[in-house]
């Protein structure tokens, strides 16, 4: 193995944000923001350059650090997956960077303020850590990357300093560290068994023996805890809903993709022949449970930011549906193919859509002074751009054409059909309907005319609104990327025929029906009594179902239960890997 042309760019992708962070840390104050802005532009350039270097040959870009080749040294590698993720993250960071200028400007009269200083330095820190996750070819360096990511992400949760958010941050760091320890334990077992931690070398050496299976189970569960896959999600809702909107966008859109990406690396590149059908199905089952529970509980939220956070709990589920779909039963191994492409597309599509959604929710909160969904009447008139952003991001999350999630869903559905696993296809359809339900619910509330004229309570930055809208459009129009050059050439071409349009309308209609059944507080309808009286018992029943989901979710998010869930998951994956 040798360094390839463009390899040095991988070092730059990791170090440019980190050097930017070091300079911002030293100069502080308003300079921190200026340096972050410059670094974002440079980092985006580096990501594009890496994509160009990769596209030239289509071969993995490699860099041997210090000139030492593995197993003694560490190699950085960027394949198509890494390239796509780095590009997506750079674009989302750019959007968040523009958006956050209004929220995290250092106030006049002080040389430096706490929240802006912490936000701008840690934004760059998170970016460097994520890029390291994407390009590292060594399981221990990946552990370091996970630690960098966690320590950079946690302080963003409690940026506003309220006791409630400090509690959320503490939950996050404790559970994430448990996840790290599980991962590290697996790394130790792998080194003990094979004498190397290099992904390429390991792929050739690993075989299904007890140490490997134990390592696989621990590492997988550790990464699931850090990604907050249901039922290991106790920390996510309070952390993502309590952070300031720009920070929520980083946490929900980007940070959880780091540990998810590492799980993908582990399963597809290190252990493709070791994982079993049962373990892949188990990941899928957890994903399906996440989709169902996350979406239903989202529908039962009174506050917009918590709704969006629970939407993330559900969307994380989609990211794990590709594992069973990529499992080739004939070869008894995971295959890189349409399912992996679909899952990756889902990840980047969610990154931009969810960032945009949190940003829109933040703008609404800022303008109205609260985010109680039932009291959003009149917001559509006061903040049309932000409500539009929320709607477009919602369409993108539902997977309507031409969004990236639509293409992703199509790839996953094709894989489901090819492998005869129809049940995952129905999970995706139900998930799409439920997503439509809460988006419709929020929009119906926001678009109702206000009873009294609504005055915006605080000024909302125009630039921030545009940044959020741009990210939502990125996600919604991602499907068109298939028309461009690689690296997304596996994507289906977008088509806007009648059938697609009709099914999109059906999804929205179905969503509206579900919202009427499960939604927490419905807007008053003029003809309510006449139309809905016969349906009242149905509504009571569906509400009871929704309430059950909320109770189960609350029980699962208790520390003792979540701790037990971690051990049970480890045992479960151990057993599934033996099967």
């Amino acid at each position: 193995m040798t360094t390839t042309p463009g390899g040095l760019l991988l070092v730059l992708a990791v170090l440019a944000p980190i050097v930017g962070m070091l300079i911002a840390f030293t100069l502080g104050g308003r300079n921190a923001q200026r340096i972050a802005s410059v670094t974002i532009v440079i980092g985006l350039g580096i990501a594009i350059a890496i994509a160009a270097a990769w596209a030239q040959t289509g071969a993995t870009v490699v860099y041997l650090l210090g000139g030492w080749s593995p197993p003694l040294g560490i190699a950085l590698r960027a394949d198509g997956l890494s390239v796509v993720m780095m590009l997506a993250v750079a674009v989302v960071i750019l959007g968040i960077g523009v958006y956050a200028r209004a929220d995290f400007a250092t106030p006049a009269g002080v040389p430096e303020a706490r929240a802006p200083f912490v936000f701008w330095t840690l934004l760059l820190a998170i970016w460097g850590a994520l890029n390291l996750v994407f390009v590292s070819g060594d399981l221990f360096t990946l552990y370091v990357a996970l630690e960098l990511l966690t320590f950079a992400a946690v302080p963003l949760v409690s940026l506003d300093g309220r006791a409630e958010t400090l509690r959320a941050a503490l939950r996050y760091v404790l559970y994430a560290l448990l996840g790290s320890m599980f991962y590290l334990l697996g790394v130790v077992l792998v080194y003990g068994a094979y004498g190397t931690l290099d992904i390429g070398l390991l792929a050739a050496r690993v075989h299904a023996e007890p140490a490997t299976l134990a390592a696989a189970a621990f590492m997988t569960v550790g990464l699931l805890a850090k990604t907050a896959l249901f039922p290991l999600h106790l920390w996510l809702p309070p952390a993502h809903a309590g952070a300031p909107p720009a920070a929520s966008a980083v946490l929900s859109g980007l940070v959880i993709k780091g540990s998810w990406f590492l799980a993908v690396r582990l399963w597809f590149d290190v252990l493709p022949g070791v994982v079993t059908l049962a373990s892949a199905q188990l990941l899928g089952v957890l994903g399906a449970a996440a989709i169902l529970a996350g979406n239903v509980v989202a529908l039962r939220q009174a506050r917009l930011k918590l709704l969006v956070a629970y939407s993330t709990v559900a969307q994380i589920g989609y990211l794990f549906l590709m594992f069973p779909l990529a499992f080739d039963a004939g070869a008894a191994a995971l295959e890189r193919g349409g399912a992996l492409a679909g899952g990756t597309l889902q990840a980047i599509s969610h990154a931009s859509a969810k960032a945009a959604m949190f940003m829109a929710a933040g703008l609404i909160y800022r303008a109205v002074g609260h985010d109680r969904i039932a009291e959003l009447a009149g917001v559509g008139r006061a903040l049309p751009l932000s409500v539009l952003t929320f709607a477009l991001a919602g369409l993108a999350l539902m997977g309507l054409p031409p969004s990236g999630a639509y293409a992703a869903k199509k790839l996953l559905l094709d894989a489901a059909e090819a492998s005869g696993q129809w049940w995952w296809a129905s999970v995706m359809d139900v998930g799409g309907l439920l997503t439509a339900a809460y988006v419709v619910l929020v929009l119906v509330h926001a678009l109702r005319p206000a009873t009294e004229p609504r005055e915006a309570r605080a000024h909302v930055s125009h630039r921030a609104q545009i940044a959020a809208l741009a990210l939502a459009l990125c996600s919604l129009l991602l499907g068109f990327a298939a028309l461009g050059p690689a690296p997304l050439d596996a994507m289906p071409k977008p088509s806007l025929d009648f059938g697609a349009l009709a099914s999109a309308l059906l999804v929205l209609l179905g969503g509206a029906v579900l919202a009427a059944g499960l939604g927490l507080r419905l807007p008053p309808l003029p003809s309510r009594g006449v139309l809905t009286a016969p349906l009242a018992p149905v509504r009571r029943a569906t509400v009871a179902v929704g309430a059950t989901f909320v109770r189960v979710d609350a029980a699962l998010r208790q520390w003792p239960v979540a701790g037990l869930a971690l051990i049970v998951a480890a045992i479960g994956f151990g057993a599934a890997l033996l099967a």
């Binding site: 980190i18 070091l22 502080g28 650090l65 000139g67 430096e112 409690s158």
Partner: protein, 312 residues
């Protein structure tokens, strides 16, 4: 005889681990944890991992212990409330049984692995000549896997930003922690005058021999930071305000120098973090010398806590 000592250490370790988990009083649990860390260091010595032993004693036992004691002191008021939150017996039983089962399974996996574990030690020995250092751990940390070490130094800065982020807004930029006022004739002030000269010599010694013998910058920096903290707690020294430009520069100087040497490697050795023939040891020492003060400051300030007083 040796086997009996080892078995004794292993049993004591297990006992202390269980004590740490079972103890209801926070301070008692911390005492158990610190003792566990020190005993674990002994276990590493028995396994001839002296570098790991030093790190475990300094960071696992010492530094973490100090952090925990300070945290427990701040949480005194909530101790009763958190003790009341004890999970129900069935939950605890289920946790004990499952965690015990997983531990037993792991032990089985490790014990059943046949033959000596594969290792990179021969490869390190074959290539250590190119690095000029004699301690293989240093060769791994600063040559073969220098990137990990660079990033570990940087993660400490992230942690420091995290600690600082807990400051109240109006005290941002101020001095960390409470102002300690110890009796100038008391035992703490006496220790704080007596120990630092010795600790500083030991700290620098452990740092300096790291190139050739067990030791190195992290362990040395921890001892030096502990001496600083001791002087702070005795009221003989005060932590600087976190807004000071010199302080920020000193904190990033180490990682920045590391990155600069790494970048120079692109020109003079053909790879980032590469060292040219003959210059390797000199460059490694440059990195270590540059990292030491930054690490001492970072570790000391992490322990000192978030800004709690104005800069004046």
């Amino acid at each position: 005889m040796i086997a009996a000592v080892n078995a004794g250490i292993a049993l004591l370790l297990l006992g202390l681990a269980i004590w740490t988990i079972a103890a209801r009083d926070t301070f008692a649990a911390i005492v158990g944890f610190v003792a566990y860390g020190l005993l674990l260091a002994l276990a590493w010595v028995a396994l001839r991992g002296v570098d790991v032993a030093l790190t475990e004693a300094a960071i696992g036992g010492g530094l973490t212990g100090v952090l925990l004691i300070r945290a427990a002191a701040k949480l005194r008021a909530t101790e009763a409330a958190s003790n009341a939150e004890r999970p129900a017996l069935p939950t605890r039983l289920a946790a004990a049984i499952m965690a015990g089962g997983v531990t037993a399974a792991l032990a089985l996996v490790v014990l059943r692995t046949a033959g000596p574990a594969p290792t990179l030690a021969p490869e390190v020995a074959a290539n250590i000549g190119a690095t000029g250092v004699a301690n293989p751990i240093t060769a791994v940390l600063l040559a073969f896997r220098a990137m990990d070490t660079l990033l570990e130094a940087i993660v400490l800065l992230f942690a420091l930003i995290g600690v600082w982020s807990l400051a109240p807004d109006h005290l941002w930029g101020g001095r960390p922690g409470a102002r300690y006022r110890a009796d100038p004739d008391g035992i703490l002030a006496y220790l704080a005058r007596l120990l630092p000269p010795l600790g500083i010599i030991v700290g620098f010694y452990i740092f300096w021999i790291g190139a050739d013998l067990p030791g190195g910058k992290f362990q040395g920096a921890t001892i030096l930071a502990a001496m600083w903290l001791l002087a702070m707690m005795a009221g003989l020294a005060d932590a600087p305000p976190v807004s000071r430009r010199w302080l920020r520069a000193a904190l990033v100087a180490g990682p920045a120098a590391f990155i600069a040497v790494g970048a120079a490697g692109v020109g003079i050795a053909g790879a980032f973090l590469g060292y040219p023939e003959g210059l390797a040891k000199a460059l490694i020492i440059v990195i270590e010398v540059a990292l030491l003060p930054s690490l001492v400051l970072t570790l000391g300030l992490i322990m000192a806590g978030a800004p709690e007083r104005t800069a004046a």
